[in-house]
């Protein structure tokens, strides 16, 4: 379904001016924040001085990133209204964690700065190094598609037609993020997160209302009925998402995303006290729900708009079948917005999205770079690295990870929905981490051997990536089975928990640690 349809954009000179002013202001925040950085605690957890409202803003600021908007919009485009179940699952899980304090409160009580630091406290230094290495590898792979998604958004929104411009946009965006993360650390992250949250929230609310106004509710419903049928409304319908997928989403974008994913947990560990942690999750549950539902709604708006344009766009065949090309479906939402938002407004929206992209990137870069140094390199040196060396290495790692992400974004063939890619890559770390955190925090019998077994079991999640399955010749066609990402993800989690329990029972620690 190749097409040379020329999509138009309302992005004009005024919009470029708005975007450039915003970028300059962001780098300025990084420079100002530098004055407040005196030691590693300032750089990594902003001196543990973050209060409730700022904690919520910064949590949502980094978790509602541009890439989130892109992959969730793609899910709304491909799945219809039934994709809303992901937001409900995420919001419900976040709320329940806030009410119960599950994982996050006992973790905050330990006083650790990172999750692998907890591994060391509970299971020993070796587990910290292995767990830290797996976490960083999975995290960087997970982040690998962020740049590509962000660049696709910007090139489609602004109408830059040249394919080379995509790579240039990625390079420039990386450079800006690196500059202000390296110099400003967590202080610049939380301040830009706050600014980004406010900008992005108003932008998302505005474009949603614009979508309802321009297209109307009834045409949206009719389009989903025509294109997706009943699975476009019923998430439990086996021809669409199905029960396994719904459970997988509750686990991945609910429990893992809120209570285990290091960037979210970083907010927990930077919070002033346990009361702030609970407030953070209860109130963030609204944002965790919103970050899926609003972009998914924009994806549905894009679907209705493209359906109205007809098969000339390349999105539909003459028979009305939707394309399965993941790169094209990823572009649908920004193409719709480029048409829907008037000039001036589109510049503000682009600035909000750039803010979203940069705060997520810097938050993630800081998290992974810190983990490499604090959880892998420094423990391997028996904790003998000086503060100056740790700061220097962290900043160097931010740069190196940034360069790697650029290369990965350009060369990795995704071949599946971005949301599924992210869930699978996160699962490489998260399946093992769930076992270690939950059983480590709540079961006195969890042992070091069990922890190792659980961490290595989690690595099986990687077979959920389509290119990996092709490489290993274990695609559904080759196996003659119908196995999807959800089944692999949930199966790996069960395996990791079982490995933890069996390993702990067979090889208990000599002296139990609480």
């Amino acid at each position: 379904m190749e097409s040379n349809y020329a999509f138009t954009t309302n992005f004009a000179t005024l919009d470029w001016v708005i975007v450039i002013i915003y970028l300059i202001a962001t780098v300025g925040i990084g420079l100002i924040a530098k004055n407040y950085i005196k030691d590693m605690t300032d750089f990594v957890v902003a001196g543990r001085s973050i209060k409730s409202y700022l904690a919520i803003a910064t949590m949502l600021g980094s978790e509602i990133g541009l890439v989130t908007v892109m992959y969730t919009a793609q899910k709304g485009f491909n799945g219809g209204f039934s994709a809303f179940h992901i937001g409900i699952a995420a919001g419900a899980a976040c709320f329940l964690i806030g009410i119960s304090g599950f994982i996050v409160v006992p973790l905050r009580k330990t006083g650790v700065m990172t999750i692998p630091e907890y591994y060391e406290m509970r299971f020993g230094r070796g587990v910290r190094i292995v767990g830290g290495a797996i976490m960083v590898t999975a995290g960087i792979m997970n982040m690998g598609m962020f740049l590509k998604a962000s660049a696709i958004f910007l090139t489609e929104l602004t109408g830059m037609a040249d394919p080379v411009s995509l790579n240039w946009v990625m390079t420039i965006l990386t450079a800006i993020v690196l500059v202000y993360t390296i110099i400003g650390g967590m202080v610049s992250v939380v301040i830009t997160d706050y600014v980004q949250f406010v900008l992005l929230a108003f932008a998302m609310l505005g474009v949603s209302l614009l979508g309802i106004y321009q297209i109307g509710w009834e045409p949206l419903v009719e389009t989903v009925k025509t294109v997706h049928g009943a699975p476009g409304f019923d998430p439990l319908n086996q021809d669409g998402f199905g029960i396994t997928y719904v459970v997988w989403m509750f686990f991945t974008f609910g429990l893992v995303s809120c209570g285990v994913w290091p960037t979210a947990v970083a907010r927990v560990l930077a919070a002033e006290n346990e009361r702030v942690v609970r407030h953070l999750f209860v109130w963030s549950s609204i944002g965790f729900m919103t970050r899926f539902i609003i972009p998914q709604f924009l994806g549905i708006c894009a679907l209705a708009w493209l359906a109205k344009l007809g098969p000339t766009t390349g999105y539909f065949t003459a028979e009305g079948l939707l394309t399965s090309n993941s790169d094209e479906t990823l572009k649908a939402m920004p193409r719709y917005l480029a048409w829907a938002i008037p000039s001036g407004g589109i510049g503000l929206f682009a600035a909000g999205m750039l803010a979203a992209m940069m705060s997520t990137h810097c938050s993630y870069l800081l998290c992974w770079a810190t983990s490499i140094v604090e959880d892998v390199v420094n423990p391997m040196m028996n904790g003998k690295l000086t503060m100056q060396w740790r700061m220097f290495l962290t900043r160097s790692m931010i740069f190196l990870v940034g360069v790697f992400l650029l290369a990965w974004s350009i060369w990795y063939p995704m071949e599946q929905d971005l949301l599924d890619y992210l869930a699978v890559s996160a699962g490489i770390y998260a399946t093992g981490a769930v076992a270690l955190l939950v059983l480590g925090l709540y079961w006195a019998g969890a042992s070091r051997v069990g922890a190792y077994w659980a961490l290595f079991s989690g690595l099986f999640a990687i077979v959920g990536l389509t290119p990996v399955r092709k490489f290993l010749h274990i695609t559904n066609a080759e196996l003659g089975l119908e196995i999807n990402e959800a089944q692999i993800g949930l199966g790996t989690t069960a395996l990791a928990v079982a490995a933890m329990v069996v390993g702990s029972l067979l090889f208990p620690d000599r002296t139990e640690k609480s």
């Binding site: 407040y36 300032d42 001085s49 973050i50 949250f197 009925k225």
Partner: protein, 53 residues
């Protein structure tokens, strides 16, 4: 069946937009004061450290 889901998703969207709008205003105002407090407390902590040394 589709009509029931349509109603559920319609109200889900309305509730999400409303609640998120309120959250944005509350967090926007509260966050501004928290940023000021954060920078002030970090400055004070550094001054205390300098005094001790």
């Amino acid at each position: 069946m589709i009509e029931t889901w349509e109603t559920i998703w319609f109200w889900t969207l309305i509730i999400v937009l409303t609640v998120f709008g309120v959250l944005t205003i509350v967090v926007g105002i509260g966050g501004y004061f928290d940023v000021k407090t954060l920078l002030r407390s970090m400055n004070e902590r550094h001054q205390d450290t300098d005094d001790l040394s």
